[in-house]
């Protein structure tokens, strides 16, 4: 018998709906009606479907079976998120919580070492 968790990940939203709800109402800054969140969740689902399709297409085009961070950067460029004025690092700095930021942005540590080395 499948566990409850396994069933939920199958047809529920991709990410926890409380997270989606919190983030959306944080970004919206005005009150959001209850049924509006349903549309938000549904569009997040469509968004993830398009995203994974795009990532696969980019990887296939490069003759790979693995999607790499460079593919994501290209995708964000095509979405008009990364521009000349706002490079990826700026977006990471502005939008990501600290836990993720330190994974992505290079930090100089003692001994003149930079961790992580470079975003590939």
């Amino acid at each position: 018998m499948p566990s409850r968790k396994a069933r939920r990940t199958k047809d529920g939203p991709e990410l926890p709906s409380s997270l989606i709800k919190n983030l959306f109402s944080h970004y919206a800054q005005v009150p959001v009606s209850k049924d509006a969140f349903k549309v938000v969740e549904r569009s997040v689902s469509v968004y993830f479907k398009h995203l994974s399709n795009d990532l696969k297409a980019f990887a296939n085009h490069a003759g790979r079976k693995t999607a790499e961070p460079a593919d994501m950067e290209l995708l964000m460029r095509r979405q008009g998120l990364i521009t000349e004025k706002t490079p990826l690092n700026v977006l990471i700095e502005q939008h990501m919580p600290l836990e993720y930021r330190e994974l992505l942005l290079p930090i100089a540590t003692s001994g003149n070492k930079v961790v992580p080395p470079k975003l590939k």
Partner: protein
């Protein structure tokens, strides 16, 4: 407010649609960044539409029409 999810959840979100695609390195974290920016755009567009319709709260139809615009912009 909780703003992070387990990285496994992020990987599963992509894996659900493309089960055979392998994600390398920190790609899943970048996916989360992209997701945040998507929600940001969606919320801003919905708010603009709501205010243009002289509504003080964001309703079902505002999100619906903003989702149409933003999903189109998020195509790769």
């Amino acid at each position: 407010m909780r703003r992070t999810v387990r990285r496994k959840t992020l990987k599963d979100a992509v894996k659900r649609h493309e089960p055979h695609l392998v994600l390398r390195g920190d790609l899943d974290v970048l996916v989360f960044l992209n997701f945040l920016l998507f929600l940001h755009r969606l919320a801003e567009e919905a708010r603009t539409i709501a205010i243009a319709g002289k509504s003080k709260i964001i309703k079902y139809e505002h999100v619906l029409s903003s989702a149409k615009i933003i999903l189109k912009k998020s195509r790769g």
